[in-house]
């Protein structure tokens, strides 16, 4: 499947004003769908509830997204823009802020358990090749592995990486730990400090003291 569906305005070649309106509507639907899926889960979350929140009919909603799984994929891509912001280095050449971004994203996730639950469940389900979000997750992991590998490569180039640590491997294990801690944390929030564990992990990979984040 293609995860991003172009807004219908593009397909039908409407005028600019109509296109902007379609884009705005589409964004409102994504925000509402995100709230509903986070609260109720993907399977239980209803299209009718999402449509109600944006004062549309279900048929109107399906004009923008052909089905529930297309809507879900669009919600996830929409959220990825937020995820990407966490990885954006604050200044040029400062790879250390990339690591801090990972910790900040973890701290943010600790404040939104519903979203984390949605993400964990979906990513696991989507490992099945027939799942509607399978291709999305394959591409997403390629992208995130590439992004995190680049951070570790930059750290290596500036002498910040512990000798013998391979950037691509460091990326795979950091992402794996990031994901795996979420399941433990969702099951028992008192028992697991996700930020603390990730910080300890990163500290074993680099030569500088990884700062604590709020």
């Amino acid at each position: 499947m293609t995860a991003v569906h172009p807004p219908s305005g593009r397909r039908t070649g409407r005028k600019r004003g109509s296109y902007a309106k379609t884009e705005q509507k589409r964004r409102l639907i994504l925000e509402a769908a995100f709230e509903v899926f986070s609260q109720d889960g993907y399977r239980s979350g209803s299209l009718r509830d999402i449509a109600d929140r944006v004062q549309m009919s279900e048929a109107g909603l399906l004009h923008h997204f052909p089905n529930k799984s297309a809507l879900l994929a669009a919600v996830l891509e929409h959220r990825d823009q937020r995820t990407a912001d966490f990885f954006e280095p604050e200044g040029p050449g400062d790879a250390r802020t990339g690591l801090i971004g990972i910790l900040r994203l973890t701290a943010y996730n600790s404040s939104v358990p519903g979203i984390v639950e949605l993400y964990c469940t979906l990513s696991a389900e989507a490992t099945a090749p027939a799942h509607p979000a399978h291709d999305y997750f394959v591409r997403r992991y390629e992208w995130i592995r590439g992004t995190v590998t680049s951070i570790f490569e930059a750290l290596r180039d500036q002498g910040d990486l512990v000798a013998g640590v391979e950037p691509a491997s460091a990326a795979r294990s950091t992402i794996g730990l990031f994901d795996g801690l979420q399941v433990q944390w969702l099951l028992d929030r008192e028992a697991v400090d996700m930020v603390g564990e990730l910080r300890a992990h990163l500290s074993r990979l680099v030569n500088f003291e990884v700062p604590a984040v709020e």
Copy 2:
């Protein structure tokens, strides 16, 4: 919920021969259910298919396990006995074999993607408190964290742990990495070597060379 349901023979107070027969039947059902859930997933796997494999009616099967989620919980507990075998130290006082057990379990999992997929999906879904397997997974993670913490404590006591590594934290991160790598691996088996990544992780925690496993 209680994950383990006592066999019906116990409840009705039948004689010993009948009890043994019930136990044997129960075991056959668990093996069949495990095969079906691994192949078809939990949701798609049908009770009728499981019943067919053990030449019973669906009603007969439901005499042993009141519903699908009870059967699932019993299947998981049954499998945990196998998991526990991997952690069993080969000789007294040899904590290093505990780490090798983790790698062996990872290598075993690499040969059974259907089971890994089932486990990942279920553990993620079961983070929702209302899920029928929620309590099972909460207890399972407590058990596995305790088991792995004991291994790292024993390693610390014999001077095998890197200075500053805290056994309980090492356990949480090792289990987190173990779980998180599975999702990446299921999505792209070529991109992720689960055993290699876990071995690299463990090597950063201990003072000896962690052996490769097959």
